[in-house]
Symmetry: D2
């Protein structure tokens, strides 16, 4: 029962995830289009809490105003009928050829202006449907040719756009928080702001830093071989974990967007444990898609699997806390954590510290039974 | 002549770089120890401006006070005799077994206290020898076993240490700036603060953010396959490029510390161009070492090569600015940068923008001759 | 003049390379379709020697027999009019959804049968147009789910297909050699036969090993961070370099297919040197495409750049051989290569060897001025 | 009980693994030397079957003949007392500075001769102690400077050495098989024969291919992001899996040699399943070491963990075969494997195949429930 997803678990999916049709650089679509209304109903049946979208996942880029209104009305009715929420929205600033060299960082001022317009309209749409978080992923903000673009200028342009859009949200009295999503590369050779931390560095330089946080994605950090658990910990510690994208990825390759925890079992156990034990109460958003070998029914297998594995890992996180062997080792490992604590600086404390005698050899001998601890964790994961 | 290094180029080397003896995980030392005094003299002859050190590069960890004084006196005399500077110093918080599980982030409060003591003493030594920048590389601040350490707590401990040491520097009236150096892994499975941007995210949360910047290292970003030029650009844009470690590295493997620009010719051309065109006036520090196949004389070939290639790339950066073909392409590419500029937010501007009509197809057709531009850069680099 | 491509340089391009329309996982086409006849004419003007194709680059998968004949006639006329050759052909076994789980390694015997049919027909077409090399790239031969496919069985199925097709070629008296092309991943999570060496291991187990060699591709080895120059050297040493795909790639990321040597200047210099100095006389085939930011004219800039950089590096390979400093260092490094040579085994030789006394310390001191040599190579490349 | 290691499981450890003292490029030894005799006794108590060694793990490189004899006698007595075996031996051709630029591929003929001598003597020692497999890992056979060494020549030199040593073994009537072990890099920038497949390509070109196989190592393939399970499958299919090195590794970084399956739970489950289901009856050799944070007792925790996790995964491999849900999905997936089978070539079969009509759309719709299957595997692993 603990493994049955319910709305209180706050699981969400993007329309583009269950709606992914399996096209890739070497192959054509393998699945038919998925109607957003159907997506809402099926996800609700599976126990999801909400559904998110890029503007053009819902409303095609060339839709007439009448079409837009009809689509939104139908979609809202599906939400109402199912009790599903729409907690997050975002803008597609990468599919159309107009964005071939970026949106907010394009050299072409008209493209930058259009990107702002498109985002304002998409924010309106998102808020209309209840979104409280607005995600920015700069899919084309990057370069293959570093001679062609000044990365310092690109940062300034990106900041200018975010500052403008923060003001817009404030002016419209939108209760929106922004979440910036990083990725190291793909589709561009190198993307600006390649890691979650790049945005943690940017945010304090914005006009409204309090409105802006991050949206880390498992696959995106793992593409660069980075420890996602550590990246999320830094975002949390900075009070900036506004949203999260859950999926999976083998390091050092193309963006795979695999079913959550289908590959990185141990790392993602620690992630789930961190999310559950911190006070993160935002959506658990799955930004992944089914293998291209699946048909449409397989997409729902995929969605079920994401939620189910999350709940299994959550259960294991509780077991970790109740596991006598693990807790005894942790107590041993943490023993003496407080000893010699430096505390706030004072001249006296500094002088005292400088005069102190340390026996390096004794300190170095301190037993740290990490092999035993890690083995217990592996066995907990393996259900032994 | 433009390729002859002189002190005005501000080239510096670490004692540990030319003093590297070629031990690695699979092999023993191949070169004899290098006396710091000899290092200073040889580097001065080659045209370097300064030399940097970890405390224990100069003074062995178990040196008696008398030994320490003699070593420092001899070293200072070598600096005076040669006119060499010592602009940067740092602490070795990784070699001794006492730091096997970290220094500032160790679970053991006594180890953390000892790390503070060691750093204060090393700061004293650095300042005594003229250092103005103090580098922190947390070589053991990380984990293999994520069950064993809480990364949120690790960040807090690290911050506490830096805050304490900032206060110490202020209290001692040291004109020191701190530069934090990131690395994704090695010697730990994963290091906390894996990228330069991780520190850019941390710094605004410190008690004295104005005193603290970053020390990006080519190899460390490239180990994770990240674009170093972009990372340095972000540090510069944030006003946080306090120091830089120049070397080279093939991505996705162990820390190689190769001769500067011996592998990444194009990426490091853009780096040199950026450093020279920005107002970065700090040291050009080489944190690299000779191949293990070299004997002691080969070490000086290595050092010569680092400086010479930097100067060649600097010369090419000037040629880039004077190259009619490149500049014409850049002018074409940047044409229209100002058009449609959003400017600061106002409700009127937002409304105007939202109402504007954009012809996506026309904007998408905009010619961006990046292949031609990049080819000209490659040919400039190849001397054609 | 040495930098002007002519047919004797044997430069070839795939129809799919200059015909690449810039679609990627996050964006739509940016360039119009390129007619094969136009491609032939433009490439001929630029100095290329030939053009290669997948069956469906030339003849759409659903073309009627009449359409096929018309297309082939027009294409052949373009070849005749320009003097261009068509030295290599291959099969598209990855775009159509029928191949979603592989072609020769599919679980479905009907898919495997269809893949054979499609390849036999494509071989007929290739031979009709003059192809002497037939390339196999198993774009979908791999897995995301290792539970679903037995990799041992996959190897057997692949071998069965190649053996069948060798027999077909022999039976048809086609003067074709097969060249197997490896890739570690993308579009599948993991591809079988991930490296060129995987095929070097397979070939001796085939029914007609003498007919089968490899087609190494720069990007594919570099995706896994492997040294492409070494991979090609092994293929050459084994007498198995039947074709080569030239492009470029940053390691550890999605398949970029960049303009030849636009990134990996030094590694690809050694490659060109090896190709020119060995007796490889096959095509220099560019399997790359223009940046997605380019319009159609930019595609020809891209094509020009590939050939021009190859010729520049070829010129530098000659300079390397004539460079007194480099040659003197090489002579020093190679001095003593013959000493102590083991020669063929004999009991006497073994006993003599076992009894010999070696002074390890003396041998270890041998000077190997690799820093100096590599610096000279870098300067040669930089045109100093 | 199924999780208690016993000799019949054929678990072996290298002396260098449990004897690893925790030195790394940035830190000194943290553990005291481990006497080989003690290692044998402790490993026997833990349930291991055997112990392996490099010549100098047992006998120091400068040991006198008398010392050698005493050490070997003591070691043999420990084997006899415990019933432990010594199934594999190998040569250390990398630690001593004499091998700084390679052993069998060194430019210096005297170094090559010394490497042969050292290997013959080490083979004698290994055979004396019962070894039946002799491993070759070319730790220094590689380059940082591709100008300095000809990789074609390096391959020829390596082949010459292996051929010589095969003859030596035959001449001595040693019942030894050779197992070649690949690694992509570290300690050299690039190693020749970077992957297991590189050796599968070499072996058929040797004078005695039947005597020579491979020794794949988990960490070494995973460093390059390659699928180890697939690599071992190819070795098995070729009849060349003569030995195996079990450990673990995060991709794209330095050689970690982690406790078996401590990171790559799912991939190494498939490996164990493959080893157990194939007819591989060689040692399950752990080539790993304890975290540097461990003391000596922690080393035995590490060794226990390696064996225990192997046995857990072996148990799960059996469960996989008995799992009704998994087996039903596999049956569905494999249905039709035989349909349309090509069989051996005949002209009639080719003509029939070419004339056949395939409905691509129907074949493409074939359901492949890989998400469901993979989810069941993940749940099996998680003990649900």
């Amino acid at each position: 029962m603990a493994l049955t997803p319910t709305p209180e678990h706050k699981f969400t999916f993007g329309l583009w995830t269950v709606g992914n049709r399996g096209r890739d650089p070497f192959g054509e679509f393998v699945r038919p289009p998925l109607d957003p209304v159907t997506a809402v109903h099926r996800l609700a049946e599976l126990g999801a809490w909400g559904v998110n979208f890029h503007d053009n996942d819902l409303v095609p880029i060339d839709a007439s105003p009448a079409d837009r209104d009809r689509i939104v009305r139908d979609f809202r009715r599906a939400l109402d009928d199912t009790g599903m929420t729409c907690p997050m929205a975002t803008t597609n600033l990468f599919t159309d050829p107009v964005f071939k060299d970026g949106a907010f960082t394009s050299h072409d001022g008209r493209v930058r202006a259009y990107a702002l317009q498109k985002t304002m309209r998409a924010m309106d749409l998102g808020v209309e449907l209840g979104a409280q978080t607005y995600v920015f992923w700069g899919g084309r903000e990057g370069a293959e040719v570093d001679a062609a673009k000044d990365p310092v200028e690109a940062i300034k342009r990106f900041r200018e756009a975010i500052d403008f859009l923060c003001e817009y949200a404030i002016d419209q009295r939108y209760a929106l928080r922004f979440a910036l999503e990083a990725k190291p590369n793909e589709p561009r050779g190198d993307l600006y702001f390649p890691t979650t931390a790049s945005y943690l560095g940017l945010i304090p330089t914005l006009a409204h830093p309090e409105m802006v946080g991050v949206n880390p994605e498992v696959a995106h950090e793992q593409m660069a071989g980075l420890n996602f658990f550590h990246a999320v910990a830094q975002a949390l510690e900075a009070g900036k974990l506004f949203h999260i994208d859950l999926n999976d990825q083998k390091p050092g390759r193309f963006d795979q967007d695999l079913r959550f925890a289908s590959e990185s079992i141990k790392p993602l156990f620690f992630l789930v444990k961190l999310l559950e034990e911190s006070h993160y109460d935002g959506p658990r958003h799955f930004d992944a898609h089914a293998y291209r070998t699946e048909d449409q029914e397989g997409v729902w297998d995929f969605a079920r699997g994401c939620m189910r594995t999350y709940l299994i890992l959550k259960q294991k996180a509780r077991q970790f806390c109740e596991h006598a062997g693990i807790q005894a080792l942790l107590a041993e490992i943490r023993d003496g954590s407080g000893a010699g604590h430096a505390g706030p600086y004072s001249r006296a404390r500094a002088e005292e510290l400088k005069a102190q005698t340390f026996d390096r050899a004794v300190l170095a001998k301190r037993r740290l039974p990490y092999e035993r601890l890690d083995q217990l964790v592996v066995e907990l994961l393996l259900g032994i």
